[in-house]
């Protein structure tokens, strides 16, 4: 187990390295001059711009800039925002709480919804309930977050006035965004649950269980779910990892602060250290969650043994 984790950690470092390299190079394709970004409304002259380029290291060849960034990062330093002059760690740190609360509450909604929905459509597979529910799963996957978001805001904030439409400041501000994201991801989980269980229902050990005289639901809950739900753990881990940097549309729609919005501002202003900081955070959380999912597999299903 220890060797397995060690190997995975090496893999994580490799992913971080690759992600940084790709982001670093692709950021240089974004239009515009990073040194100019903060000069909106500035009456500075060209020599100030030149000095800024020197301070930020933008006058150096890109490979040297890249090397300097890696060197700095290896010391645990994410650097300073080119746009706003704030330390990147502080800038991102301020957003971790709000992003985490959105990610966790969305995943809570998604898991509860996805499990219930998936089990329902798998067990009522051939009845009209199963068919309808699978159509709805398809719909929830197909509808963009921006659409369901606007509809939910319209119903619950504008028509009924039950929930605030924008901002943050407590659980009631979290309900709508979490529902919107949860609904979309819940569809994915439901589909995995539905597929997993329907596959399991045809397995020999299930027939054995039924032959022993167990009722269908009892057989399912006792023997089927444990196996059928294994792929679901992966879906949950991947979606959570994705959400850490991927809630930007929801954040904009509900005027919430968060990592996604920081990322958008940074990309628009070609603020390389901030973009790379968010990339590092996303890759790390994605990889760690994946690792946890693998460990959870062995925990949920003792037949799986991890070998290095």
């Amino acid at each position: 187990m220890a060797r397995f984790i060690l190997r995975r950690l090496l893999g994580i470092f490799l992913s971080i390295f690759l992600a940084i390299t790709l982001s670093f190079l692709s950021l240089h394709l974004v239009q515009g001059d990073s040194a100019e970004a903060a000069l909106f409304q500035s009456v500075a002259s060209d020599d100030v711009l030149e000095r800024r380029r020197e301070t930020l290291g933008l006058d150096l060849p890109i490979l040297i800039q890249y090397g300097r960034y890696l060197h700095q990062l290896s010391g645990g330093d994410l650097g300073v925002s080119w746009f706003g002059g704030q330390p990147v760690a502080l800038l991102i740190g301020q957003q971790v709480g709000p992003t985490l609360s959105l990610v966790l509450s969305s995943m809570f909604v998604a898991v509860v919804l996805g499990l219930g929905w998936g089990i329902l459509s798998a067990t009522k597979s051939s009845s009209w309930i199963g068919h309808t529910s699978r159509v709805l799963i398809g719909a929830s996957l197909a509808l963009p977050v921006i659409f369901t978001g606007v509809v939910l805001v319209w119903v619950f904030s504008v028509m009924l006035g039950w929930l605030p439409a924008t901002g943050q400041g407590g659980l009631k501000h979290l309900v709508l965004p979490a529902l919107v994201v949860g609904l979309s991801i819940g569809g994915g989980i439901a589909r995995a649950v539905d597929a997993g269980i329907r596959e399991v229902l045809g397995e020999p050990f299930m027939r054995t269980a039924l032959a022993k005289g167990l009722s269908r639901s009892r057989a399912l809950y006792r023997h089927g779910l444990r196996v059928g739900l294994l792929p679901v753990v992966d879906v949950i881990a991947l979606e959570t990892g994705y959400l850490v940097g991927g809630t930007v549309i929801t954040e904009s729609l509900f005027a919430r602060q968060g990592i996604g919005r920081v990322l958008v501002t940074a990309v628009l202003n070609k603020d390389v250290p901030v973009v790379l900081g968010v990339v590092v955070l996303s890759v790390v959380s994605y990889s760690v969650l994946n690792l946890l999912a693998d460990i959870a597999h062995t925990w949920l299903d003792p037949r799986i043994h991890i070998t290095a």
């Binding site: 990073s34 409304q41 925002s81 706003g84 002059g85 605030p164 924008t166 979290l174 444990r226 602060q257």
Partner: protein, 536 residues
Amino acid sequence: MARNQCLSRLTILLVVICLIISVVGCKSLTQKTEPAEIVYGLTLIPSGIDPHIHASSELGIPLRSVYDTLVYQDLETREFVPGLAESWDVSPDGLTYTFKLRQDVTFHDGTAFNAEAVRVNLERILDPAANSLKAAQLLGPVQEVRVDSEYSMTIVLSKPFVPLLDGLSQPYIGMASPAALSEYDVEIYQFHQVGTGPYRFVEYIVNDRLVLERNVDYNWGPSVVVNPGVPKVDRIVFRFFTDPASRALALQSGDAQIMGELLPTDARYLSDEEAVQLVSVGIPGQPLQFLFNTAQMPTSSLEVRQALLLATDRQAIVQSVFQGYSPVAYGPLSSTTLYYTPSVEGYYAYNPVQADALFNSTGWIDSDDDGWRDDLGAPLEIVLVVPPWGLAPEVAQLLESQWESVLKVQVQIKQVASFPMLSDEANKGEYNAISLNFAGLDPTVLNSFFLSDGMRNWSRYTDPELDDWLLAAQAEMDPGLRAGLYRLIQERIMEQALVLPVREYVNLNGVQPEVHGLHFDIQGWYPYLVDLELSP
């Protein structure tokens, strides 16, 4: 594994997640709103908010009240009045400014304000390593900052620079506590700002909020405010509403009590409702304008530039896009700017017939009868580069339809998403007109746009005489002569049709009925928060 262990473990996981959510959620629930609190909506995410270093106009809205300035400028009389400086003298050659400072002022951290503090602040701004993007330029050619005694100090210039007092009156040169400046590194000082103003800086969460609380020791307010003492409102929370459409909504739902830069259509609708007061403030400086590229065909031709101006129905644009809330702009400066000359109002009144005739005189005509003027067999094209802010895209669309129908030229609109992209397009130079405008009461705001070597000379226009006038006007001590120079400058810019002015910039603020006393300093953007009151 025991019965249903898999499911029960999943349940445990879910419960743990629930607990985490409720802890995180409750933490934010405890931030209850206090009675005397105002939420003030800002509109764009400023780059950084260290006033000595950064340039965003937005930073001055909260920070005008965190810092006091040495002098203030009266909106009515346009005279400079005492702030942290009780009195000052300017030497006849305009090179030496001597200030006597107030002796009863303390910073929010309890340290005393004195001449040494002023020196530390000004030298921080002037330090080349600080790379100040605005404050250093406002100070001009400062040669030396000298402490004469505990409460008097002198600024020595290397050449006369008349806008110095204007600069010293702006929040960018607010006086910060030297103790705080040395305690915090430059990267994190912007999160821990300490001034002497009526409000203390409490918290700044980038992209989300900036919180101020009143300074209960304050009693040294300048004569430009009504209340020179402790503010009535305990706490002001600034929040960012970058999406223009969300601003009116936030105001209506009570999420914000004051909101800047409402969409004109929303302002019209809200003022009809009468539930919201509208405070509209003219912003001195440059109007919303398009700078014509004199180095790019066909706007390299003076007649073409003039024809484009004559073919623009600015009144129609102001009525439809700005709902009549902004005055039509006629020159390179708004009428609220110092030394604005009304003579520019006689130039280029809407005249489609004259515009068409003028364009015909250039030889670009519709030779193949396809409805468009031609250049070497292809339709003649005008390229507009447009930033996303200030309703410039909407204006560009009207320009497109007006120019296409009046002048029969094709218009290509190139919209960019950010300032770096805009300046990149400007550097490439493949445009006929590009939109950018800066704010500022003093007409030196023209320098970087119209000096031949100016950083924003996006007209790519070179005129040694105009350069001489601009530099002379910046050093001219006599107001009458200065006004004369700026008249020449504004007329030359319009005679040469270097800009298409569209509308004077107006900030449409929406204010909830229970909020009173919102007023702004002479620069237009910065409110005097000390005068805000909430009726019960």
